[in-house]
């Protein structure tokens, strides 16, 4: 069988690079060819049709294309331009916008997939063994077509390694920008994080669309947390409103590690964020939170899967959604507890507010438990802004718009408060407020 991407598979195969990588690519291409794009018959995609992606062919482009030197990233830096960053334009690393390797905080080593491909292991900052060990080993390309597609086609991406015992206070910012030149392109971004024993670090991944281009981002991030590592991963998705965004974050966690993920979804016409983690060491835990704010015809889907594979593991999930216009939100959170994962402590919550009568949410928390001594709870709510509260506020002199804005903001506040990084929290709080002052909420 051939697919729209068969030619691209061949092109990438000819790029060379290490043999193990070529082999993984080949396997992934075969896997994608066999799987094809998921349809709504696939239970993981029941509420989201990817026809807008699968009905078209998005071009692979081997150069950034856009204008890297004139990129203005100021509005996307959380008022913290001093944070070290790795910038990718239309999927390709832009050295001139990125922090040089020797200016990175102590304990952090980075390289790019592009460097490994074009210049070989010597150019990989001594990380090629780690890349070989983990790349494509955490994210599952056998079952997930989009992961397979990415593994087969990604030619660039960030590799970030935090050394053992290193506590890195400065967050690192990985910035994926798509500009006007990206129209009709497929952008395969790839990230690998390796967090060493007892290390502590924060990485922000920003997906930014500058302009209204209709590109397709297919992102895969893999994170490997060694014993006792604490790794915070904040994802801010501000793709163009015409873009398609599929992102899979797959995590493997060793003993006593803690993985914190926050997904803030604001952009894209169609987006899907997968966060999958395996708690594969006793005492490990995952905190997955998120906020999606949608309007117009946006469709935004979050799927999480937390596998409790060892005893005494914990997970916490809080996802909140604000949906206006004709937008459609989906939340599907699965907690899977293996038979040996006794004393699992899991809590999952998804709360939504529909700001217009034509907005829609499908929420599906799922527990699959094969151990008997566990504590797992889950809940989902869908509501509207409280009319009585709106009247109460107006009777104190607040305008209807102000009252709505304050209530929406208050709704989002508790999940935003889980972001420890103040600069990011403040900036996202501001965006929440702004988002709903641009127009009268709920008047659709």
């Amino acid at each position: 069988m051939t697919t729209a991407y068969s030619d691209d598979f061949r092109t990438v195969a000819e790029l060379g690079g290490p043999g193990w990588l070529a082999e993984r690519r080949r396997a992934a291409a075969a896997s994608f060819t066999a799987l094809g794009f998921p349809t709504r018959k696939n239970e993981n995609w029941h509420y989201t049709s990817v026809a807008p992606i699968s009905d078209r062919t998005f071009r692979m482009v081997r150069t950034p294309g856009g204008d890297a030197s004139s990129l203005d990233l100021t509005p996307y830096q959380f008022n913290s331009p001093e944070w070290p960053r790795l910038v990718f334009l239309n999927g390709h690393f832009v050295a001139e916008q990125s922090t040089p390797a020797d200016k990175l905080p102590e304990g952090v080593r980075v390289t790019t997939l592009g460097a490994l491909l074009s210049e070989g292991a010597d150019a990989s900052n001594g990380l090629s063994d780690l890349i070989e060990q983990h790349l494509g080993r955490v994210a599952d390309g056998e079952e997930h077509a989009f992961v397979a597609l990415n593994t087969a086609l990604a030619t660039d991406g960030a590799v970030i390694v935090v050394g053992s015992e290193m506590v890195v206070d400065t967050p690192l910012h990985v910035v994926f920008v798509a500009d006007g030149a990206s129209s009709g392109q497929a952008i395969q971004t790839r990230t690998l994080f390796v967090a060493g024993r007892h290390s502590k670090a924060t990485v922000i991944e920003s997906f930014i669309g500058m302009g209204e281009a209709d590109y397709f981002t297919n992102a895969v991030s893999e994170a490997v947390l060694d014993d006792g590592a604490t790794f915070t991963n904040i994802k801010v998705q501000r793709e163009s409103q015409s873009a398609f965004h599929i992102c899979t974050t797959s995590v493997h966690q060793a003993r006593d590690s803690h993985y914190l993920h926050f997904s803030c979804a604001l952009g894209a016409a169609l987006s899907r964020t997968n966060v999958y983690t395996i708690l594969d060491g006793e005492g490990s835990g995952a905190t997955l939170n998120g906020l999606y704010m949608l309007d117009g015809d946006q469709h935004c889907d979050h799927q999480t899967r937390i596998e409790h594979a060892k005893p005494n593991t914990f997970s916490r999930e809080l996802y909140k959604g604000l949906l206006d216009g004709n937008s459609h939100g989906v939340f599907n959170g699965k907690v899977y507890v293996h038979p040996e994962a006794q004393k699992t402590d899991g809590k999952q919550e998804n709360n939504n507010i529909l700001l217009s009568p034509t907005a829609h949410i499908d929420t599906k928390p799922e527990l699959e438990i094969y151990a008997d001594d566990v504590r797992c709870t889950h809940g989902a709510t869908v509501g509207q802004l409280d009319d009585t509260a709106l009247f109460y506020m107006r009777s104190r002199g607040l305008s209807a718009a102000q009252a709505r804005q304050l209530l929406t903001y208050a709704f989002a506040a508790d999940v935003l408060e889980t972001i420890e990084l103040e600069a990011v929290r403040d900036s996202l709080e501001e965006q929440t407020l702004e988002r709903f002052t641009r127009h009268e909420v709920g008047t659709a």
């Binding site: 509260a389 107006r394 009777s395 104190r396 607040l398 305008s399 209807a400 209530l407 208050a410």
Partner: protein
């Protein structure tokens, strides 16, 4: 100041107010009493502009304006304040933030400059003292987890901050101990001025010992069936409503 004529209002085809006439002049205190379900809160909510109630007849003039034409916030800006019988909880919005936002809205309307959080601290601390509220309550979400009495005090705090011209207190005294009752009364009396007026909805004469009314009205079945001076409240306390119900039925 306030002139209500033949006011009829209801909810979903159910008529609750069936022709209310009431005139409140500046400087006056009016008490509205009446049995449960007679329409006292409905009257208060209609005056504040609650969108759930439909006005089906009559008129309300406030300071020469057609009050019923105004949005709830415009009524607030014009100086109308309703202390809710059941104050609303607003999770995630702190009391201090809410109060400052409301205060600044009022200032904007009056052409005054908005105050920042620091400046507002001075305003609020003084008022909190007046209603004897623990300042720590200011940093909690509006009315969340407040006791019944604390909620009522919070209503009075809002009133003290917003300094309305026409304050309508809907059973602000219900469920209060005697000390809290004094606090509420002090809050109301502190606002007393020749250009302001108060409507107190209550079931109990005891509040009226502290907030002395110029007039007492009895609302039964959506109509004011009797009006009198403050001694009417004493009579109601002694005799209940039955004799009025009988009179009304006759």
């Amino acid at each position: 100041m306030l002139k209500i004529r033949g006011l009829r209002a209801g909810i979903e085809d159910k008529e609750i107010l069936r022709g209310i006439d009431l005139t409140v002049n500046a400087g006056e205190v009016h008490a509205v009493m009446g049995p449960n379900g007679s329409g006292k809160s409905t009257l208060a909510q209609v005056l504040a502009g609650h969108p759930s109630f439909e006005v089906t007849g009559g008129s309300v003039t406030y300071d020469g304006k057609d009050l019923l034409e105004l949005e709830p916030e415009e009524r607030a800006h014009a100086g109308v304040f309703l202390a809710f019988q059941y104050p609303i909880e607003i999770p995630g919005v702190t009391n201090a933030y809410f109060l400052r936002t409301a205060y600044n809205e009022m200032r904007k309307v009056q052409g005054l400059e908005e105050v920042d959080p620091i400046e507002f601290l001075d305003v609020i601390e003084e008022k909190a003292k007046l209603v004897q509220m623990d300042p720590s309550m200011l940093n909690r979400s509006v009315n969340m987890g407040f006791s019944g009495g604390e909620k009522k005090r919070n209503e009075i705090l809002q009133m003290a901050v917003l300094e309305p011209k026409l304050a309508i207190l809907d059973e602000t005294d219900s469920g209060l101990d005697i000390d809290a009752l004094r606090v509420v009364a002090d809050g109301v009396n502190a606002l007393k001025a020749p250009d302001r007026a108060t409507i107190v909805v209550t079931h109990y004469q005891r509040l009226l010992n502290y907030i002395v009314p110029d007039y007492v009205h009895v609302l039964v079945g959506g109509r004011i069936v009797k009006s009198g001076g403050k001694e009417l409240a004493l009579e109601l306390e002694a005799r209940g409503y039955d004799w009025l119900l009988a009179e009304a039925a006759a």
